[in-house]
């Protein structure tokens, strides 16, 4: 595969074949607790996509320009978390100031995002897989979109599920996990399309 196409391949792989939620189980907590309504899921999904795309790129810059030259790789966990938390805080202040509508739509989700494992996970994956900046950027967007896709599908299914009769012990998270299992199986069907890690 040519170098030009590699970032695009990573993008599709991150969104479909290696969906960060369905193959790496990242971001499960908010996935299970928020996916009850379609509107809230969409809000959280958009917020996650946006924050993930920007913070993975930011963390790439910080890691390669600050941590590596000074031999401080072991501090990456703390630094990545600070970057993510600071960025989320900043975004919250900016949209609170300039767009009240957007603040009410997304504002409540932003604090949730700081502790979303998927965001930190994407940053750690990009370090381990040694992506270039361009690839990292596409990887961040792709992972975010994949997460968005998964939570939207889940919310849609769970709304239909309200009328279904579920065994008492499986209600809530139990049935959601089984649905996620089937979704993961469905997403495995994409794996023939692109074969990269």
């Amino acid at each position: 595969m040519s170098d030009m196409l590699f970032p695009l391949a990573v993008f599709f792989a991150a969104a479909f074949t290696n969906n960060i939620l369905l193959t790496n189980y990242l971001g499960m907590c908010s996935f299970l607790s928020v996916s009850k309504e379609i509107e809230t899921s969409a809000g959280l999904g958009i917020a996650v996509t946006f924050v993930m795309a920007v913070t993975t790129a930011l963390n790439w810059v910080v890691y390669h320009l600050v941590l590596l030259p000074f031999g401080l790789e072991y501090l990456r966990f703390i630094v990545f978390i600070i970057v993510i938390a600071a960025f989320v805080q900043l975004i919250e202040m900016v949209i609170e100031r300039y767009s009240e509508g957007l603040y009410f739509a997304l504002g409540i989700f932003l604090p949730l995002i700081t502790v979303n494992c998927a965001i930190l996970g994407a940053s750690l994956f990009m370090v381990i897989r040694e992506y270039s900046f361009m690839t990292t950027f596409f990887f961040g967007i792709g992972s975010g979109l994949g997460w968005f896709l998964a939570i939207m599908a889940m919310a849609g299914i769970r709304q239909k599920l309200k009328t279904a009769k579920v065994p008492a012990g499986l209600e809530g998270p139990g049935i959601a996990l089984i649905i996620a299992g089937f979704m993961a199986m469905a997403f495995m069907g994409f794996s023939g399309m692109i074969a990269i890690g």
Partner: protein
């Protein structure tokens, strides 16, 4: 009395307040490694270590932490212990460190650690918080170990890498792939909930 409270604190997370199947917390970072028993064991020990010591540390500092920035302080303390786990693994068990990949770092965002600190360590004295941290960690670890046991046994016919089931066993590839983790956890939650519901009504 004083002794009773320690025992109660220790027993609750193992049963009726189990962080995994009652509160559904913190499955993100660890479910991914449950396709092999040895990986799960190391990750569980990492979680117990982080959980116990960060609960303890936060509990010591609890009266000095300004409540506005307490999340940030908590994250820093957790991250410090996770870094200790990470560099220890990297130095002594490089093979294991490689196969765990990013998941050791993800203990930081594991909701269970933050959850126990917020719910318990901020209100209780250090020794009690330490007990709660260890117990929650064990309550979390045993669920994952059971899941990993079933997944590895059915998925590859091995346990800790040793062949247990002979040639007659056809490996269930789905068990070691991602859907297997979701199904196993769901089944476990189902069984646990049924058992506890029966206990509550009788």
């Amino acid at each position: 009395m004083a002794k009773g409270i320690y025992k109660k604190t220790f027993m609750a997370p193992l049963g009726k307040d189990n962080p995994v199947f009652v509160q559904i917390l913190g499955i993100c970072s660890t479910l991914a490694v449950t396709n092999r028993l040895d990986n799960t064991l190391v990750m569980s020990l990492g979680v117990i270590f982080t959980l116990a010591l960060s609960s303890f540390t936060i509990s010591i500092m609890r009266s000095w932490i300004p409540s506005r920035i307490r999340m940030m302080v908590e994250t820093m303390v957790i991250a410090t212990f996770v870094i200790i786990v990470d560099i220890t693994l990297k130095a002594f068990y490089p093979e294991m460190w490689k196969s765990l990949g990013p998941y050791v770092g993800l203990i930081i965002t594991n909701c269970i650690v933050m959850g126990r600190i917020e719910a318990f360590a901020l209100q209780n004295k250090p020794s009690l918080s330490l007990v709660d941290g260890i117990a929650s960690g064990i309550g979390y670890a045993y669920v994952l170990l059971i899941i990993a046991f079933v997944r590895e046994l059915m998925g590859t016919g091995t346990l800790f890498g040793f062949t247990i089931l002979g040639d007659w066993w056809t490996s269930w590839a789905i068990m070691i792939m991602p859907p297997g983790g979701f199904f196993m956890l769901a089944i476990f939650i189902w069984i646990a909930k049924e058992a506890f519901m029966k206990e509550a009504t009788s």
